[in-house]
């Protein structure tokens, strides 16, 4: 079935079709329409779940942790300050190896209050042990949320997974999306599995005091799980392709084979970049695009090109673009910081960035630098 709707409504639909037993969420712009829609699904009986209308995002993740630890599938969604307030529990979920799935609608961090797209919120959670997938279209939002459960709940992974996409640019923009039948989704997603659960017949304690040696063992195993996740994400993406006609990988290449410069970007800037590549090609420039879909685990080994232009909608202040810095050493890399706080980045900007890189320039795009 093909429907036309906003990414947030599509995300709510995808979450519903993954059949979580517990949804815990707190409203924040621009995530709100996801949790409103989910509340409706639960109240009208379309989704058989307990909906916990928590009093904060910290509690939203804590409730998901409690539920997942008791042995059920969970879902939550947030944005920006909500994700930051949640940060402690974001770590807790990963260290507990609970396969929670969360949507983060990317939004800038205040002050001043800015509700527009910016990836610094989720990229700031880089080291928490969550798998992070960035979607560039509403279709990718749908497909990635369903896939996220299968990835997170894979026994070689067992890590929580975050689906990220741009506030408003996607969250509130309608696009056509193919929605598979529920029965096919049910077949694709196995029963909920977890590494451990709270069971009165097999009592265990989770998370008491741990020695340095055992703690390091836990961290090592999380890193192994992240490594395992690369293959699992690819396998799940291929299976999705076989069953639903759209395959996914860690990155998506577009006209990279003969490219002089390959643009590396994520989320909405990546889909805009695709259009820019065509325009650049029309001008006779051999431009290519490598869309970074999965930010953690980071597919550094796949992003090897002689000349790369990285466009970051996030910055590590005092160092530079986040993805740019992670790709340094993989070739000649030109890093651009653009679009922070929702500042518009359209295909003309991307073409300009390309031409600046050709001249050996990089840095903050769209700022008057004296």
């Amino acid at each position: 079935m093909k429907i036309i709707d906003t990414a947030n409504h599509i995300a709510a639909l995808a979450a519903k079709m993954a059949k979580p037993s517990v949804v815990a969420a707190y409203p924040i712009t621009p995530q709100t329409t996801i949790v409103e829609r989910l509340a409706k699904y639960v109240e009208n009986g379309e989704l058989n779940a307990e909906y916990i209308r928590v009093e904060s995002e910290h509690s939203a993740m804590a409730a998901c942790i409690g539920a997942a630890a008791t042995g059920v599938r969970t879902f939550t969604a947030t944005s920006s300050h909500g994700l930051l307030l949640m940060h402690e529990m974001v770590h807790w979920a990963a260290l507990s190896r609970l396969p929670i799935v969360m949507v983060n609608v990317n939004r800038a961090i205040g002050p001043g209050w800015n509700i527009w797209s910016d990836s610094n919120d989720s990229m700031g959670q880089r080291d928490t042990g969550w798998i992070q997938i960035y979607a560039s279209s509403n279709q990718e939002v749908y497909d990635s949320i369903i896939q996220a459960y299968k990835i997170a709940e894979n026994e070689d992974v067992m890590l929580p997974t975050m689906i990220c996409y741009d506030g408003f640019i996607l969250s509130h923009t309608s696009m056509p999306v193919y929605i598979p039948e529920q029965s096919k989704v049910d077949k694709f997603l196995p029963e909920f599995k977890s590494l451990w659960s709270l069971d009165v017949d097999k009592p265990i304690t989770h998370g008491n005091i741990i020695s340095p040696a055992d703690y390091m063992d836990v961290r090592y195993s999380m890193n192994q799980a992240m490594k395992n996740a690369k293959k699992v994400i690819i396998d799940v993406g291929e299976e999705w392709g076989r069953k639903f006609g759209r395959s996914y990988n860690l990155i998506e290449e577009y006209k990279c084979d003969d490219a002089d410069y390959v643009i590396v970007s994520t989320a909405a800037i990546a889909s805009e970049s695709k259009f820019a590549i065509d325009k650049l090609r029309e001008k006779g420039k051999k431009a290519g695009l490598a869309k970074l879909r999965v930010f953690r685990p980071f597919p550094k080994e796949m992003l090897r090109y002689d000349k790369m232009i990285v466009i970051d909608r996030a910055v590590s202040l005092g160092l530079g673009g986040i993805v740019y810095n992670e790709l340094k050493g993989n070739g000649d890399v030109y890093g651009f910081i653009a679009g922070l706080g929702g500042k518009d980045v359209n295909y003309r900007d991307i073409m300009r960035i390309y031409e600046l890189a050709e001249k050996g320039k990089d840095g903050w795009y769209g700022i008057e630098v004296k």
């Binding site: 307990e50 928590v54 009093e55 509690s59 409690g66 630890a69 005091i209």
Partner: protein, 302 residues
């Protein structure tokens, strides 16, 4: 009331814990779990109780236990309760087991949220009136005048009345208890287990190293707290406050032992001036005046 000798013999706290000798937490938890039984899931925030469990991969707790971040126990318990409902396991009771720091202070938002939502779990606060696990710092539950490592000259403020804050949430069951009156504690736990919705039980838990008294006196101090009227045992069932017999008989001031009997055994009150003691007395008297008024109203209604 169940006689002590008839308490179940099952132990859910296994010998050889990491608790300090004379710890009130394990006294309370041993009996609480005897009352609650095997079908209990504990949710424990950062606290002494997290340490008491001993080191991974061993635990001294014989029921499933979820350790959780300091501010998150009531919300994690909400998640556990929701999952149990979805799994059709509503005969299992989620029980938060938190200290006063995790309840009065950092955990109060999650607690208030969960109580307002009517979540189905028991919240137990064992109140040792300070952050004992981190080394005896003052909390919102520390009484006026008490020495702590962040109030070297004695706390200047009066503790908050969390029971009254909880009462404003219209939950079905609230009770206070004491490790000294262990049959009453057992009884209240049993009663709470049979009720649906949020239930709040607060247990006064005198801490030997924190309150500066000999480790053999844990129960004695807890008893004195009740006998002097410093700690009041009551229940509030659907909002109706009822003093527990041990406290009800203290409604007349002359029945209450002098507060000095309680204070003088504790090193944390060593430096109280007469003025300080008078302030503590006044605070206790005011509290009891409120209970007197509640009872007068009750009598008038009848």
């Amino acid at each position: 009331m169940v006689a002590i000798k008839k308490f179940p013999e099952e132990e859910y706290i296994l010998k050889g814990t990491a608790a300090c000798p004379g710890c009130p937490i394990t006294i309370a938890l041993r009996t609480a779990l005897k009352a609650l039984g095997k079908k209990t899931i504990l949710i424990v925030p950062a606290s002494c109780s997290a340490v008491v469990q001993s080191l991974v991969p061993k635990t001294s707790f014989g029921v499933p236990t979820l350790n959780i971040a300091f501010a998150a126990s009531a919300s994690a318990a909400s998640g556990v309760a929701a999952a149990l409902k979805m799994l059709g396991k509503e005969d299992v009771t989620p029980v938060v087991w938190a200290g006063d720091g995790g309840t009065y202070d950092i955990g109060i938002q999650a607690l208030s949220g969960a109580f307002e939502r009517g979540e189905n779990f028991i919240y137990v606060c064992y109140n040792n009136q300070m952050y004992s696990n981190t080394g005896i710092q003052r909390s919102g539950a520390t009484p006026y005048g008490a020495w702590t490592t962040t109030t070297w000259t004695g706390k200047k403020e009066i503790q908050k009345e969390l029971g009254e804050i909880v009462m404003a949430h219209h939950i079905p069951y609230i009770a206070t208890a004491s490790i000294a009156y262990i049959d009453d504690l057992y009884d209240k736990m049993k009663k709470a287990k049979e009720i649906n919705g949020p239930r709040y039980i607060e247990i006064l838990a005198p801490c030997p190293p924190g309150w500066r008294f000999d480790m053999s006196k844990t129960v004695e101090i807890a008893r004195l707290a009740v006998q002097t009227g410093a700690w009041v045992l009551y229940e509030a069932i659907n909002g109706e406050v009822k003093l527990t017999s041990y406290s009800k008989m203290l409604l007349k001031r002359k029945e209450r032992r002098p507060i000095e009997d309680y204070l003088k055994l504790q090193g944390r009150f060593r430096n109280l001036t007469e003025e300080d003691i008078n302030k503590i007395k006044k605070n206790i008297d005011e509290k009891w005046k409120r209970y007197m008024e509640i009872y007068k109203e009750k009598e008038e209604k009848q």
